[in-house]
Symmetry: C2
Subunit: 161 residues, 2 copies
């Protein structure tokens, strides 16, 4: 408890993750479809599923430092990865990007020891100020990202050629 | 018949559409999911569906001239749009990009009057030389793209901010 409290206090003193200006022109890594964003069967997940009956799509983007990370296997400080999430909507013969759900940001930051050396944030819909993660990166983000493992530096994706 | 024959002869004398080197670093426009690539219920479509039971995803890219086209509504000569197609594969909780199916290329070229002022090509899987369209752009590509209409210069997509 004391250790955990100490880490949280330390994290709280770190600056907020800035909104990733211009990420829509960064390199596109890959896209993927998910039935719903969070894997758990709880009330929140049910609500999310009702709001996106066709599921979600995310487009991944990487800044130049993050591209170096994909190439070398080591993400340098300042590497930024984005997951740009949209609600899928039916269109003739398929599903297209509907409204934006959120912009997920991962920034390489060695100070964030309790989240694998990454800072995380989630900007709501098209907002640059409405933050859904804040001090909850351990439970909101790293709870899943830890499963990518330290040998992958907690990054799930690979760069599609 | 005489007119059609004349146009085909003219098209045949135009140079091939070059492979779009470096398009993976161009601006990403949007992504979309389709059950199968072609809309018709025929033997080819059935074969395609069997090869991609979870459907396909395409990632759209634009070169700088094409970005100008999205902004102004007028695509200048040399504007290039790419649809990078992948077979979707099941992954934990969703669908991810599997093998590449093809790279579709649209190049603004006013000489191509029978296909709305665009040249079309489709490069098979990861090949830069295996062409699936060739002289068949009218039936393989423009048969559908015409429905985007002249007021949209036969482009279906819009640039997602």
């Amino acid at each position: 408890m004391a250790l955990s409290g100490g880490l949280l206090a330390e994290t709280a003193s770190l600056p907020e993750v800035p909104y990733p200006d211009g990420f829509r022109r960064w390199a596109h890594v890959a896209s993927a479809v998910v039935a719903k964003k969070m894997g758990e069967a709880n009330a929140e997940a049910e609500k999310e599923k009702a709001a996106a009956p066709h599921g979600l799509i995310h487009n991944l983007y990487a800044n130049d430092l993050a591209l170096e990370g994909y190439r070398t296997g080591h993400f340098p400080e300042g590497a930024v990865l984005i997951a740009d999430w949209f609600i899928l909507e039916e269109t003739r013969g398929g599903l297209k990007q509907g409204p934006r759900k959120s912009v997920d940001v991962m920034v390489r930051d060695a100070r964030r020891t309790e989240t694998g050396g990454w800072a995380f944030e989630n900007f709501d819909q098209n907002s640059r100020t409405q933050r859904n993660v804040g001090a909850n990166a351990v439970t909101s983000c790293f709870k899943c990202h830890q499963f990518a493992g330290p040998e992958r530096e907690f990054v799930f994706s690979t760069l599609r050629p």
